[in-house]
Symmetry: C3
Subunit: 246 residues, 3 copies
């Protein structure tokens, strides 16, 4: 297995979007591309990642292969990516070789392959009843607003508005966006839906979402949230369990 990316930083960004939630996982490399599904260590959230072969300038594979990796370590190594570097990954001696290629220089890292936990192959099956598509940056600001008061945030979507709420000792927040607000790209409602989620997880999920892109929230009352965004060709779907006040 040997794959090559023209811009090393692009692959770094993809792995960042996994690493913010996941400590270890298995990259499943097939003819179609590379996929990874994993839960965070606490089991509250899950990421489902897929990048098609066409995102790579070279994509050579004899048979499907699973590469179990410590994602933290992989992220560290990728943080050394410089501008104008290409990146090549290949399996060799039960290790993953990551090679950065600049002009007249090569930087080769080798990462041990591991038996990653296999706790999350199934995405939660929810018949979502509300979909809201928002600007990434605006959604990050909303999370920051709520975080001033609480560790949890409530979302409520109905035909005419998207409402965000948080409540703590210091006070309460209610934020209301009309369907035609600048930051709202699309609202599709089958049924008004509301649920509350852990802010820390949401903020980690959103860390790597590219500025100026959009994020799609799928909701059903008191069911897990599904959050989708893309980094170039790569698609990220996150699932987050609802928080139930006891």
């Amino acid at each position: 297995m040997l794959v090559k990316v023209e811009d090393a930083r692009y692959w770094k960004n993809c792995v960042d979007a996994i690493e913010s939630l996941i400590d270890e996982g298995t990259f499943n490399v097939s003819k179609e591309g590379i996929a990874l599904k994993a839960m965070d260590p606490s089991g509250i959230s899950m990421v489902s990642f897929f990048i098609p072969n066409k995102a790579f300038s070279k994509f050579e594979i004899e048979k499907p292969v699973g590469l179990g990796l410590n994602i933290d370590n992989m992220g560290k190594i990728l943080s050394s990516a410089r501008s104008n570097e290409q990146l090549e990954m290949k399996e060799t001696d039960s290790r993953l070789q990551i090679e950065f290629m600049g002009t007249n220089s090569r930087r080769r890292y080798k990462l041990p392959l591991i038996d990653a936990r296999k706790d999350a192959d199934k995405e939660p099956k929810v018949q979502f009843e509300a979909v809201v598509e928002l600007k990434c940056d605006a959604f990050r600001e909303i999370l920051r607003d709520a975080n001033l008061l609480s560790s949890y945030i409530g979302f409520r979507a109905d035909k005419n508005s998207f409402v965000v709420a948080a409540k703590g000792d210091a006070g309460e927040l209610e934020e209301e966006y009309a369907g035609n607000a600048d930051m709202i790209k699309r609202v599709e409602i089958t049924k008004p839906s509301s649920a509350t989620f852990n802010l820390d997880y949401l903020q980690r999920i959103m860390l790597a979402c590219p500025s100026n892109s959009t994020v799609q929230l799928s909701l059903k009352t008191d069911e897990p949230l599904r959050l989708d965004y893309k980094i170039g060709e790569a698609a990220f779907a996150y699932f987050l369990a609802p928080y139930m006040e006891s």
Copy 2:
């Protein structure tokens, strides 16, 4: 009571200048404007704040009202102010509602009203004998210089110069500015005056002073310092007890 500011960030800056010193206090809203006097929790320093009604685009009040608030929490909420947002504050159900208004969006916070400590209605009465007006940024640099060596700073003002001194295990500092130095805007001396103050308090007091504005120091030997600056129409007077070497 309902008041409105055209630029939410302006009100945020005003509250920052209080919050750097004060944890809780009562905003007294009258026809003339809003005033707050409060000591810091240690009782070493005091702020006296006044903003006239003309700084607001809406200023509706039936009878004078005192709004006791946790200033830390208010500051947190105001830190969410974005550019091009207006801000409306109104009392409702013994809470203060702070509403940020952007285009097509509203963000409403509610802060509980509290019985704030009432320990500081009286400003210290000192017949100051020296007044020095300085550039804000230059004064902040002076505080930083002194902080390299000590937790205290001495000021000495006489007809021809403004002298700053600090002393610690690592060495001594003496900084002398002629009356015509760039950073000195004005010196008025009845009698040469000198006193020593806690640097940490001075640095906190100066945190919110706008760059490119000026600050006025009023001194009398071994008496409290009075420090004045403005943020737009809002006037801030700080008082700080002198440090007496024992």
Copy 3:
């Protein structure tokens, strides 16, 4: 003894390059200029510094003098240097007076003179067998790369390449630069040489190396490293003991 530098920040940069490694030392002032040799407190590394008299706009000295100083404290004080300030240093009452001179203002610090440790007058004598001259910034990036995986870094220089290696639990790094790589300015090899060094020390040594300048590494297998760079007229030679895996 009285010396004057036209740009206070230049002298600050020189002392930074000493302070990153050394806590105290003696500046030996002679007709030729100012020299300092000192080991770091752990005894693993050494700096040898010399700045010629021509780097100063005034250089007055009656007889050679040794100024023992706490370099940390001196560095703190110099960190207050502003742009467009001159700096004058003179010995007075067994203290070193450092005076910053701006327009219409003077800032005078006095630092106590101390009996600094005298543990390092001799530079290690090594017949180096490989010399590699690199761009400063590129070398700092290499150190950062290795630091992702390990606290140690191995260098190997031979006729055709300069190789860097690091190894840790998270993986391995091998970085290879051809002699004609952009970042390599010069390679002179008598004999292929390799040795391993402590990364923390190397990073501290490189902290003050000016961007866009070059650094020269002198190597001999398993012997101390010599690292040279200049800040303007000032020359810095650092020696660092090799790390021997046990």
